[in-house]
């Protein structure tokens, strides 16, 4: 079982040039990073770019990273903020969201979780991000507020409204 000590050792190893430690960090944190980006953006290509660029950003800051802090939340915070930025930029470009990247599945070709994805699609991206951070990435409301620069009350209200909407859809 992985421990915080193991993770700190891997971060230290990666800082000192160990590819195997870097790979261990990547293997551990890539799946959630990519999933979180996808759940916020609903665009697989964008999610890949965002997760990848977030790892690269983390890599650039690796030498300055405080090893006493957990690596995952630090990375995931970068991911979610980039995912929110991407959805905002996309809105500004006046693209028609969801039409080319997300289709509500027919019952015959539904993939696991399509109902969840469709329900999330009904939420504004900023609300999706809060739900994803709380329930997938397991941030506390306080940590979400800190990561997104929001008042704690706003986080709580978005969580409540997000869960209500998802509950209705599901």
């Amino acid at each position: 079982m992985r421990t915080a000590r193991d993770e700190r050792a891997r971060v230290r190893g990666a800082q000192e040039g160990s590819v195997s430690d870097l790979e261990a960090l990547f293997r551990t944190h890539w799946p959630r990073a990519y999933r979180a980006a996808y759940l916020v953006t609903h665009d697989a290509a964008a999610a890949e770019d965002i997760a990848q660029e977030s790892f690269l950003a983390a890599l650039r800051a690796l030498d300055r990273f405080d090893r006493r802090r957990p690596f995952g939340p630090w990375l995931h915070r970068i991911v979610v903020n980039r995912a929110i930025d991407w959805t905002r930029a996309r809105r500004l470009r006046a693209e028609v969201e969801l039409t080319d990247t997300f289709h509500a599945p027919s019952s015959s070709s539904a993939s696991p979780g399509d109902d969840v994805l469709a329900a999330l699609a009904q939420l504004p991206p900023e609300h999706r991000a809060v739900v994803v951070m709380r329930h997938l990435l397991e941030f506390t409301p306080g940590e979400i507020a800190d990561a997104l620069g929001l008042p704690r009350g706003t986080v709580n209200s978005r969580l409540r409204r997000g869960l209500d909407a998802l509950g209705d859809e599901l």
């Binding site: 040039g17 160990s18 790979e23 990519y34 996808y38 990848q52 890599l59 969840v116 599901l170």
Partner: protein
């Protein structure tokens, strides 16, 4: 809710992960500054490295990111001219103007308008080829003998102090001629590829062809072993100096064989091209260049073992490194870098790197010269 979010089917997760790892690994290699040689070693399993490079090749997001992180081509503070070689020995180099011998003190001599060249076993002579001629020369350029044959390529010279032979390929197949130019004969009709004599008496010859690798006893024509190989044309074949290991590389794979044809090291085939490969004189290590997403990575497997091979990156640079040669003492690798017009002399223990610029101009060549061999000190 967590369970609900985790059961969403995220498209192409695996492919995206493989591509991203390639880009992250490439960026990680870039992270090390060349001026801090003690930090440029990177340890990774060969399979990891290969898959990462493959991933970077396939990734369009990866390409975009790599474009951003790519550095100016070339090593800064390179010497403007080759003042000396960092290790004993002499280089044979083929350029537009012909074949050159480069001495350890940096002095150069043009042997003549030849296309390929190889050293004799003790570095006393050079075998050269033109399109339709095989020639044996003194290292000062004096011609000892010539042999006209159609479409000559891949000369290899081996033997003892008193008895040597040159193997070569022409339009009829694999041929052998004695070191004094006599007794030319056809050994394998209709076979093409690359040749390498096993060091020592000119008896065992490796023939790497599209589809197979053969080692023959030329004294009796017996096939010692044969292995299936890539259907592509081979890019390199060479023995260790003790004749115990043989490297054969193809455009997307390489294998190191032992004397019995067993394979203690195999890399590829993968999507990432292998631009160059060279076996250490000791046979214990191999270096190779993989190319992906506009970058070359020079890898070294410092200890070839049948049970576990570990590779580490010696150097990463934009553009293509396209040639490798080990110094005779095995301490340095010469990597040729056409995009930077540089040669890189890299310590295999990672303690130093020397870059030399203006290579093409120094060898009076419009195209980038090709290193044919780094031979024994005289």
């Amino acid at each position: 809710m967590k369970r609900e979010l985790e059961r969403v089917d995220v498209p192409n997760e695996h492919d995206a992960r493989v591509r991203a790892w390639g880009v992250v690994l490439a960026a990680y290699s870039e992270r090390k500054p060349v001026s801090r040689p003690s930090h440029w070693s990177r340890v990774a399993a060969v399979a990891i490295a290969a898959s990462a490079i493959v991933a970077a090749t396939l990734s369009s997001p990866g390409r975009a990111v790599l474009d951003d992180i790519r550095e100016v081509v070339g090593v800064e503070r390179a010497q403007p001219a080759l003042f000396s070689l960092p290790a004993p020995g002499r280089l044979l180099v083929a350029s537009d103007t012909g074949v050159w011998v480069v001495q350890q003190d940096g002095s150069r001599r043009l042997l003549g308008d030849y296309r390929e060249a190889t050293w004799s076993p003790f570095g006393r002579f050079v075998a050269t080829t033109r399109t339709n001629e095989l020639a044996a020369l003194e290292p000062d350029g004096d011609v000892r003998w010539t042999l006209p044959r159609p479409g000559i390529s891949s000369p290899s010279w081996a033997g003892t102090e008193t008895d040597t032979s040159i193997a070569y390929i022409d339009r009829t197949g694999v041929r052998i001629v004695a070191g004094d130019g006599t007794g030319d004969r056809l050994l394998l009709p209709g076979i093409g590829g690359l040749l390498a004599w096993r060091p020592g008496p000119a008896r065992m010859l490796a023939v790497a062809s599209p589809g197979q690798v053969r080692v023959l006893d030329v004294a009796n024509g017996r096939l010692i072993w044969r292995a299936h190989a890539s259907s592509a044309f081979p890019t390199a074949v060479s023995w260790s100096s003790d004749g115990k290991r043989l490297l054969v590389s193809y455009p997307r794979s390489l294998r190191v064989f032992d004397a019995l044809g067993n394979v203690p090291l195999s890399i590829g085939p993968g999507a990432a091209p292998i631009r160059a490969a060279a076996l250490a004189p000791s046979g214990r290590a191999v270096a190779y260049v993989m190319w992906a997403a506009g970058q070359s990575q020079l890898w070294i497997v410092p200890r070839i073992r049948p049970d576990a091979n570990v590779a580490r990156t010696l150097f990463t640079g934009a553009g293509g490194l396209d040639g490798l040669a080990w110094s005779p003492d095995g301490r340095w690798l010469l990597a040729t870098w056409p995009d930077a017009n540089q040669w890189l002399f890299i310590r295999t223990d990672e303690r130093g790197i020397r870059a030399v610029s203006n290579i093409a101009k120094q060898l009076r060549s419009a195209t980038f010269p090709r290193v044919e061999g780094w031979c024994c000190a005289r």
